[in-house]
Symmetry: D2
Subunit: 140 residues, 4 copies
């Protein structure tokens, strides 16, 4: 992918204040694949001290959206139209890792998937699977 595209994605990510609130980082961007990591901060937890589903969703949705954006023509944007998340295991550990990918690109819709893992030491557990629909927006 072009450097321009990667820069666009980084700039969009940095403009999302929620990502900063959650301590999330963009850790990989390539054509059709984007990875976001976020620590399970003291302020991102549910009632048992595990990662809140809102955190898991937020980084999974963003990883999937930027994966879609990585295959769009320059200066486009994408919006999430719908997203389903299956929560497979408690988000227990130090950090969540969301990996987004494109299932089916398209001019009108992009179908995406993201998988989220919780890492403790070197071990990763699959905690969530997301599938959804992104809508490309051409530059005005």
């Amino acid at each position: 992918m072009s450097d321009h595209r990667a820069e666009t994605i980084k700039a969009s990510f940095q403009a999302q204040s929620m990502m900063e609130t959650l301590g999330a980082c963009l850790t990989h961007v390539s054509e059709g694949i984007v990875e976001i990591q976020a620590p399970i901060l003291p302020g991102s937890q549910q009632q048992h001290g595990f990662a809140h589903a809102g955190l898991t969703f937020a980084i999974g949705d963003s990883a999937a959206g930027y994966a879609a954006l990585s295959v769009m023509p320059p200066d486009h944007e994408v919006l999430t139209s719908e997203m389903k998340i299956h929560l497979l295991a408690p988000g227990r550990g130090e950090v969540l890792i969301a990996r987004g990918q494109v299932i089916k690109p398209g001019r009108r819709l992009v179908i995406v998937q993201a998988d989220v893992y919780a890492r403790t030491d070197a071990k990763e557990v699959h905690v969530a699977m997301l599938t959804g629909t992104m809508v490309p927006l051409a530059p005005k």
Copy 2:
């Protein structure tokens, strides 16, 4: 619903640090209906300054989950197994309001819905619809 049940829900809500991070409040609890409100804080936004989908999801999912909990026997808990969110309009305004309800109660599964509205002045816009599956957990 019993006061005990309402107290259990309030205590669980307060134990979710993410709700505090997002500034969310539990504004209504009755049998099968729960409402949560959250301001669109400077730190809860996406790249255009609207409510982040992570915020919309977090309060919608929690409202739906507590609606399920409100129809469970005492001392149960519920876990989200899966949740689909349709994002219908930008989360523009001062506050988001999530209203959760029970579509189909059950001993093994509870099917739930939540609708999220963005309010500016006195006007509410429907910004998201969620449907999902909650799993009741009996006390140990």
Copy 3:
């Protein structure tokens, strides 16, 4: 809605051979609301003699799709992009009734819902809820 639009919907429905295989009938068409009924035929059942989920899905998806079509400009078509079905109760009885409606119209996407009921004598039981995304196609 115009007679032309209603005729377009009827013609499209009749061109779906699957609807004939399932014995399905278009029983109501108005702006944003479509109803389809189908008997639970001997050949439409699952292993316990109830309505097969494929039948429930087929008429729910079609009712939702034609509800979307009923709010489109003339000569458009719609395609289902994605659809989630919650199966709430066994499809037990003589006939299934699917009622589709539009949740959020749009030029690029139409968000729809359908609810399916099983009727025995005069009693209706809510057996499924579907929510999904329809894509309008302009005439070529």
Copy 4:
């Protein structure tokens, strides 16, 4: 997997009259993986002569359900609680092939996926992806 389990799955499949109506065959059963094929019969089509989404759903849902059943203890059954289908491309060709797999086994819920392909000559096109929740039922 045991022969007993495979026989149970075959018997359940044969008891679904809808599978016979659709001409569907169980073409592979192993632990956690089930394949079902169905021709695109003249009576299984939508208005453009492609496979009806009801056919795609019916065999995808069944393949996913039997994949779940293949990892259950003997004499259990499974019910679909919810299923989301993304329709990725028209179901064009001679036959649809649904491959179901288990994403996350469990005593209370089994999370499943199915992918459906349309085959013409030797070429397979990915036409649908399903993800859903199966509920195990213990023998009475």
